[in-house]
Amino acid sequence: MTRFRPKDARELAELVAGAGAKGEALEVIAGGTKRGLGRPVETPHQLDVTAFAGIRSYEPEELVLTAGPATPMAEIARTLAAAQQVLPFEPGDWGPVYGAPAGRQTLGGVLVCNIAGPRRPRQGSARDHLLGFHAVSGRGEVFKSGGRVIKNVTGYDLSKLMCGSFGTLAVLTEVTVKVLPAPEATRTLVLRGLDDARAVQAMTRALNGAQDVSGAAHLPAEFGARTLLRLEGPAPSVEARAEALRRELTEFAVAEVLSDAAAMAPWRDLADLNAFAAEPSRALWRVSVAPQAGPAIAAAARKLEGRYLYDWGGGLLWIAVADARDSGAAVLRGALGEAGGHATLIRASESQRAEIPIFEPQPPALAALGQRVKESFDPARILNPGRMYREL
């Protein structure tokens, strides 16, 4: 095993071109916190891209930040906080779920894994915030796409393709992301004692109402039977809206209203998957469905004696399943049914990850299209081969 550590894009391109010529695959690593995500990659070499770090430019009034992808998220968050701004898609720190220390995750890792937190339904995901990038493709060629402005439709939107590609298409060397002002104040309403069905009804009422809810999660009985609804904005606004929302939801429960630090804590916990970091032996699933389909997925999770919680108003379930033969893949994927959606095995033992499809199996036409896209960027299949699907 060789670990290459290119200093700049030229060296990186040379390394990738050389690997391509020899057909020797590379595992791309920056912070290395999420190596447990995806199918196990067996490569003769590792490509350490930690040299591509540091904030290159940040202009708060332009709402854009340009950085090396290996810049730690902690540094990004600190820099943005100094100008009262945030990455609006609220990515959590997934490191601890894989046993890595907190705070080591990088911006590039967040982007290529397309991570988003509780604000996702309202503000979008990583894919909605990558405005442009420079990269080296699997062909060993330096290229760029997008730009450094918020509104741009020039050429194909390759930024979307990079997000959620898990390093299988290109190695990012510079990224520009859209940022937004941090909310001035936060209130969280806590409704206690609702069962799953009532909780989804309450979240739907809140999300379909006029109070501009920016987070809707439900923690079932084993996590304290709490339904959480978040309001963000200027102080006078959140105050009034919290009271209005509390009144609108009295038929479900009398809500307690949390302010400021107490209001923000549960959302940080959700984004960072804190509920699941403590039990590393359990397989962890991330299931994305239409919000109203959430309770049906939860019913399947209960059959597996899984521990689960809801985010995104019912549209996202995190499910931890004790070691079963297929970690519950057949049951959970079977429950998706006609309504659609997808289940991703976020964490599992290495042997399970080699056997169970990590990402939702795709119909043949779509899978073939994905393979042709992979081939167009990485014809020799040298970047993280097989990390997502065996064929990619």
């Binding site: 030229r10 894919r127 509104k151 109402g209 501009d212």
Partner: protein, 495 residues
């Protein structure tokens, strides 16, 4: 406009092709008379015209698939078309290609309030989606100015924007899923009522692909609760610098308005003469700032913006006291294009984006270009996101003016790129900006995009001649460049 050389063999087979397509789309679904093809010869970019070989109007996904399969087998080019409102020539026909019009796909298939989404056929208009849900207080956020006519399928192809993009995003941020048909006639579904893709984000690639990758046959969009309150400020400034500083200060204060539009003096006067809504005539720049959301928030932020405007030398500042007054503020801006048309006869609408801080540089450059070409330019500007719409005034009846206006437009776009911006913010590349792509991208950048095209359409039959300045064969693009047995950078040690 240079287009791919038409294939005489295909044109000679027109009658036979029409007959074969009628087997798939019976009756009036295949248009071959010259008179009936005429309305399809151009889109919103009317300077370019081209009669299509045939126009085909399918009404089912199966028909779309069969038409595409037939075209692939017979190597016939296909130009997809929605309402034909593209301002970049995205639906400009080809003499040896069919226009595949999606107008018959005009039904809303499902309104799903609990999941906050609408499933629609691609020929439904943008505004048609809002009309289907507004009784329950919902709307579809992206609002291109052609929204009364443009279709959601066209919006997907062009990644359309509007005046509310900064806060609510472009089409790509509001589409949850699509069904589309590949040139091979395969029907593929991406996304649905849930969020995120399970594999590569091909939905994100399809949105904004300008009809070069596939033909969209169904669209699922998210709908939002209409903000209960909206109020606007109409702020006049003694200079565009002051207006630009005010915009930066609003955002620096943590405020993201629902809409923030700037107009220059020529646009202000044209609009006021056209709609008489009380725009101040003695200012150099006018800013419309709309704050939307829950009432307590709007009332609070309106006060903040008013104070920021005063700090930035605002010469006048009116706050809307009623919805009628707010709409009056917008009436001039919304009528800016026809208003400018009134004073000049013809105008050419340019669409570029700049980093906002470069506004005064770009305005200065435009003044110089205006003098150089002898054509006036009026400016309307989505100030929040840096998207400029300079309107170049010309007279098509004067020889050479069309060409001068186009050349000036190209110079303005190149200036946007030089200042760190991009060629198009929301109108698309199409044929209009195709030959400027190499100002923004080098050949390697473009080859990575073209190879993606090859993954979807290896024969290059879907909308050829758009977006990319040169056509390459996919086999040629796929080759690795190896010179004399060595890859690039032979001087660096290898494994």
């Amino acid at each position: 406009m240079r287009m791919p050389e038409p294939d005489g063999g295909i044109i000679a087979r027109r009658a036979e092709i029409a007959a074969a397509l009628r087997q798939i789309v019976p009756g009036e679904g295949v248009i071959d008379s010259e008179e009936e093809r005429r309305p399809y010869e151009s889109d919103g970019l009317t300077a370019y015209r081209n009669m299509p070989l045939l126009v085909v109007l399918p009404s089912t996904t199966e028909q779309v698939a069969a038409v595409l399969r037939y075209c692939r087998d017979n190597r016939i080019k296909v130009v997809p078309r929605g309402a034909g409102t593209s301002l970049s020539g995205g639906a400009l026909p080809l003499a040896d290609g069919i226009v595949l019009g999606m107008a018959k796909f005009n039904r809303i298939l499902e309104v799903d309030f609990p999941n906050r989404c609408v499933v629609a056929q691609p020929g439904v208009t943008n505004l048609g989606i809002t009309h289907a849900v507004q009784h329950a207080g919902f709307y579809y956020a992206p609002d291109p100015s052609s929204q009364i006519a443009c279709t959601i399928g066209g919006n997907v192809a062009e990644n359309s924007g509007g005046v509310h993009c900064l806060k609510y995003g472009l089409t790509t941020n509001n589409v949850l899923g699509i069904e589309f048909v590949t040139i091979d006639g395969e029907t593929v579904r991406l996304g649905g009522k849930h969020l995120e893709a399970e594999g590569y984000d091909l939905l994100g690639v399809m949105v904004g692909s300008e009809g070069l990758l596939g033909v969209v046959t169904e669209v699922t969009v998210r709908i939002l609760q209409k903000p209960p309150t909206a109020r606007a400020l109409l702020i006049g400034f003694p200079s565009s610098e002051c207006a630009g500083n005010c915009v930066a200060a609003i955002i620096a204060a943590g405020i993201i308005p629902g809409g923030m539009e700037m107009m220059d003096k020529l646009a202000i006067h044209a609009a006021e003469d056209f709609v008489h809504v009380g725009y101040p005539r003695d200012v150099e720049a006018l800013l419309i700032v709309e704050i939307d959301g829950p009432k307590p928030e709007v009332d609070h932020l309106i006060g903040c913006v008013e104070a920021i405007a005063r700090q930035n030398q605002a010469a006048s500042c009116r706050v809307s006291q009623s919805d009628e007054e707010r709409l009056a503020f917008w009436a001039g801006r919304k009528a800016a294009f026809p208003a400018v048309g009134c004073i000049s006869g013809d105008y050419y609408c340019v669409d570029g984006t700049i980093p906002r801080k470069r506004l005064s540089d770009v305005l200065r450059g435009m003044t110089e270009l205006s003098a150089k070409y002898g054509l006036p330019v009026a400016n309307v500007f989505h100030a929040g996101d840096g998207n400029l719409h300079p309107l170049i005034l010309y007279d098509a009846n004067k020889p050479g003016e069309v060409e001068r206006a186009e050349a000036m437009g190209a110079d303005i776009l190149c200036l946007c790129v030089e200042l760190g911006g991009v060629l198009t913010g929301e109108h698309g590349v199409g044929v209009e900006k195709r030959d400027l792509m190499d100002r923004m991208f080098n050949p390697v950048d473009l080859e990575h995009q073209m190879r993606l095209k090859c993954a979807f359409d290896p024969e290059g039959l879907l909308n050829p001649g758009k977006v990319f300045p040169q056509l390459h064969r996919c086999a040629e693009l796929g080759r690795m460049h190896v010179h004399k047995g060595q890859t690039a950078f032979p001087d660096i040690p290898r494994f």
